[in-house]
């Protein structure tokens, strides 16, 4: 289990964090990994903070609990930085990826004692440019793939193309935009600490 990677997603109901965690599980599955992708369920409300999780490993995963010491954290909405302890248990060898336009200093002050790496991406900008609408989950998915290095980028891009063709079989017009969002996000995710 040495190569087990654990990821925790923080988003708001309706932003697609759960879908992103399932897509990440899918992509890792397609590279031959053992995967888990699951949200923490409650009575979901649009806009309320939600959590979703991924485990990815090259050996079977038997553990069935939430993740308390993740290797990576993805924050889909930077407003959550004020209301959720997003870095709780986050390993310092890991990283946090935040959808934000805030500066490095602002983020560092919000994350207080956290000493690990911080990456940012403006998923709103990427999404508006690629899709004309604000769907932060696709850019955030690409960002965490890039930051975590759980799979080769080219394989990921190819795999997502296949997934989108399947997922959006009845809405083929959104495939190109989503692929553009993936590619832009892979380029634009930035390490600030």
């Amino acid at each position: 289990m040495n190569d087990l990677i654990e990821i925790r997603w923080h988003g708001r109901g309706g932003q697609g964090a759960k879908t992103a965690s399932l897509l990440l599980a899918d992509a890792a599955f397609n590279t031959g990994k053992y995967i888990q992708g699951f949200p923490e369920y409650g009575p979901e409300r649009m806009g309320a903070p939600i959590t979703a999780y991924n485990r990815i490993s090259s050996t079977p995963i038997t553990i069935h609990s939430n993740i308390y010491e993740p290797d990576y954290v993805v924050v889909v909405d930077d407003g959550l930085l004020d209301v959720v302890d997003v870095t709780a248990g986050l390993k310092e060898s890991g990283a946090i990826v935040i959808n934000t336009t805030k500066t490095g200093d602002e983020l560092k002050s919000k994350l207080k004692d956290y000493k690990g790496s911080i990456y940012t991406i403006d998923a709103r900008k990427v999404s508006i440019e690629a899709l004309g609408k604000y769907f932060p989950n696709t850019p955030m998915l690409a960002a965490i793939v890039k930051v975590s290095g759980i799979m080769n980028e080219d394989d990921f891009v190819k795999d997502m193309e296949g997934s989108f063709k399947h997922k959006f079989a009845k809405k083929p017009e959104v495939i190109e935009g989503n692929m553009k969002a993936i590619k832009l996000a892979l380029e634009q995710v930035t390490k600030i600490n």
């Binding site: 899918d26 992708g37 038997t62 069935h64 609990s65």
Partner: protein, 393 residues
């Protein structure tokens, strides 16, 4: 060799039902099992199965429709959770006493109240004496595999009892994980055709189903039900062996994980067994002889076999994901301790009620149980045997 897939536990159950292609499915949606009839109704409308799907107006009607269908000679399935099962209650007993091999997916959830939609085993524990065979599943794979074995067990002439396959709501039902599926044709030939001995639509043998059973007969009929449950053990063993030959996946009455040389062990069911395996591996790497006994077959209860498997231990903890609220201990604890007492296995046993209403059970929680067990193994038994795990006090 099999099809590598990734599915949630609910998807896995729905796919199993698609491959089984039963004659009738009657179901009413309830969280967290809703997706099972939802996916299945898609298979129906796409023509992937030729099942008659009955979108009933309640769970009571779902079970009643399954009873009618099975009595007529059809293969019937359903899925539910928590209060859905509570609402079926009356019909649950009718199904088993009429000896109708209905198969149900029970996606375990806390029974209200107060209202809670998350996982525990209070729904299943409420029907443990209702005459249904009950198989528990650690993962999506086991939920799928148990469903594929279900009809062969339930419909066997020496059994003829309804069967429910349990899995943990949300924890496995909504988690996407790897799974190995069987090809459709292999499932079809493994399960075979349903040929009931007596059924309502047999014009050559007019029968009545469910008439009044007076003082002169009911006792004997109940004895026959009890005999059928005893017979089920042998049939479950046979079918599991055939399944292993087909898939390479071995299923016994219970799984012994690093148990044979263990000194301390946990007994539990469903997804917590997976977390416990993770902890057992960690403890073993530190030289601690920890083990696990995971119950798969809860009804019939394999008393003698369990007592034997636990008899060499220095201390055992039974984890109940439902509190019996009886001042004495959880349902599994009472079954395990009675099995050990009657089979003269003298080992200190303690009980933990845990995971109620979806309270997450972490590897740290499980590790604390082994720490308690190590203490008992060193210092001997305790009178403080009715405990709670993960409870805020």
């Amino acid at each position: 060799m099999g099809i590598r897939e990734r599915l949630s536990g609910n998807e896995a159950a729905a796919i199993a039902m698609k491959q089984i292609n039963p004659d009738v499915v009657a179901a009413f949606p309830i969280t967290p099992s809703t997706e099972i009839p939802q996916y299945f109704s898609t298979f129906v409308s796409n023509g992937e199965v030729d099942t008659e799907f009955v979108a009933v107006e309640s769970e009571h009607s779902a079970m009643t429709a399954c009873i009618g269908a099975e009595a007529a000679g059809a293969r019937a399935m359903t899925a539910t959770s928590a209060n859905g099962l509570s609402f079926m209650w009356e019909q649950i007993y009718i199904a088993s006493s009429l000896r109708l091999p209905i198969v149900m997916s029970l996606v375990n959830r806390a029974v209200s109240g107060p209202l809670n939609i998350n996982n525990d085993h209070s729904d299943a524990m409420g029907v443990r004496d209702a005459g249904w065979i009950m198989l528990f599943s650690e993962s999506n794979q086991e939920a799928y595999d148990n469903l594929l074995m279900a009809h062969r067990i339930a419909e066997h002439k020496d059994v003829q009892l309804p069967l429910m396959v349990c899995q943990d709501g949300f924890i496995t039902s909504h988690s996407i994980e790897n799974i190995e599926l069987l090809e459709d044709d292999k499932v079809k030939s493994f399960i075979g055709e349903y040929k009931p001995e007596h059924y309502l639509l047999n014009r050559d043998e007019p029968i009545a189903v469910g008439p009044l059973d007076v003082q002169a007969y009911l006792f004997e009929h109940k004895y026959q039900q009890a005999e059928a449950m005893r017979n089920a053990k042998k049939v479950i063993a046979e079918v599991s062996k055939d399944f292993e030959e087909l898939t390479g996946r071995k299923y016994s009455f219970f799984e012994e994980y690093k148990l044979d040389d263990a000194e301390i062990a946990i007994v539990c069911m469903n997804s917590t067994a997976g977390t416990t395996k993770f902890v057992v591996d960690e403890l073993r790497s530190k030289g601690i002889k920890a083990g696990l006994l995971k119950i798969r077959m809860f009804r019939p209860f394999p008393s003698e076999e369990i007592a034997k498997a636990l008899s060499h231990l220095k201390a055992v903890a039974v984890l109940d994901k439902s509190d019996s609220l009886n001042g004495a201990g959880g349902a599994l604890f009472e079954d395990i301790t009675s099995a050990m007492y009657t089979n003269k296995a003298q080992v200190p046993v303690i009980n933990y009620v845990y995971g109620i209403g979806g309270r997450d059970t972490t590897s740290t929680d499980i590790e604390s149980v082994y720490t308690d067990l190590a203490e008992i193994a060193t210092n001997g038994g305790t009178n403080d045997f009715y405990r709670y795990l993960g409870l805020r006090k």
